[in-house]
Symmetry: C2
Subunit: 248 residues, 2 copies
Amino acid sequence: MRIQYTEGSLAQAVIRRFNALRPLSEEATATFEQAILEGLLRAGPGEDLAAEGDRVDGVRLVLSGWLFRHKTLEDGRRQIVNFVLPGEACDAYVYLLSTMDHSITTATPVVYAEIKKARFEKLLTSERTLAEAFMCETLVNDAIQREWATNLGRRVALERVAHLFCEIYERLRPVGLVDGNSCSFPVTQMDLADATGLSVVHLNRTIQELRASGLISLRERTLTINDLDALKNVAFYSPSYLQLYRRD
Amino acid sequence: MRIQYTEGSLAQAVIRRFNALRPLSEEATATFEQAILEGLLRAGPGEDLAAEGDRVDGVRLVLSGWLFRHKTLEDGRRQIVNFVLPGEACDAYVYLLSTMDHSITTATPVVYAEIKKARFEKLLTSERTLAEAFMCETLVNDAIQREWATNLGRRVALERVAHLFCEIYERLRPVGLVDGNSCSFPVTQMDLADATGLSVVHLNRTIQELRASGLISLRERTLTINDLDALKNVAFYSPSYLQLYRRD
DNA sequence: TCATCTCGTTAACTTAGTGAAATGCTGGAA
DNA sequence: TTCCAGCATTTCACTAAGTTAACGAGATGA
């Protein structure tokens, strides 16, 4: 995987996202960026960054690539409960709890930064707005989780898949990963089925239907949304939960 | 509704829960308790403590009674995404975001405490472990939300309802609201259907089935679990996500 | 070159869960 | 007492989604 960044820093996605959550001072940005660049790591596709039951002792921030959070029942049924996209945190504050309640696995090659607990806490203490930004990151994650519950509980297959596409698209946009009306969408239909609570067969049928209606195209790991408004209508999509627009 | 407290303070449920998340010093407990008792409020059943789109400017803690968090689609379909039980916080830190992404409505008469933002922040600054406890509260809430996604996406009706019963039971126990093998369960089948993503009709069938198998009884707003282990087996229940046992 | 794997796709068939509507129960309010 | 409202329950016809299985295309590797 070649990592492409038009504007300088590897940490761009994270900086952008956190700035959208809370405007950070230049100084805070610089301190944050340095902490990120000092903790750079890479993982190949299909690696676990954390597994259910693990203890976690730091914070990981995704610079590029996709991951997903998932839980598996004893008999093998799996639910992907969220994706972790560039700019987002894997596990802010999780070291406060005893163990992970879910697993985090890479879907693609991933570049991420690890900030150890001690450093992280120092960072939050010295930069108050950064602490608030991390808090917001956690709260938004929570809001997304609620929207997923609604998606899984009350939307039918077509709406559900459409909703997922809208959400991912809107989450990728602010970090600069939407190009025209397309974005990378590097997950298999099996993963997508596990994210939407459908069988692979029915997920496939549903995607066919969305394609046939001309709303989207999805091939070679690229999602193109031909008519975003129409797709949002199909999905009963209401975006405020992502908190993409700043307070005041 | 008569509020019964065998051991003194109204704030007992909250104190117990937060102490289970992080052991609080006596001093921290006292300061916290005072803040709670100074902000006491009551609400009748069916009242909104917050609605989607509202701004929230403080933290509410539930002393007694049940509430639920819910989201509604444009066409009226509703999903209850979680319950808020005695001892839990409605909206810790939410003032950091611009607006509520969901609504919070009382299911029963509720006694709660409101702590305004300024006071709340002062409290967290002066009592570090309390800040950590609030953070844990948020993280556990997040974990519950993930479990709900799994429940809605990958469990069939019987497992799903069984799982909800197990979870609520286990959440009520540490705050002292389980009596023998029974607890209050003050929600209608319509609410339960909206919480499990089922139709009322099918929810009813499912409850009949659980009753017929002798695992539970549910009548007059009281849930009795006759065989908790068996119910957990039916539900593929794995409790660690509630983080009920302290780290170290 | 052949064999194997993963992934997407399609078909045939089954089933879990839905929707609408009617019935009965219980507990206020008039 | 009577009436009504809210809630639980049941029935029945219907459908959205699951299951199983098979097939093809492309990638990978011996």
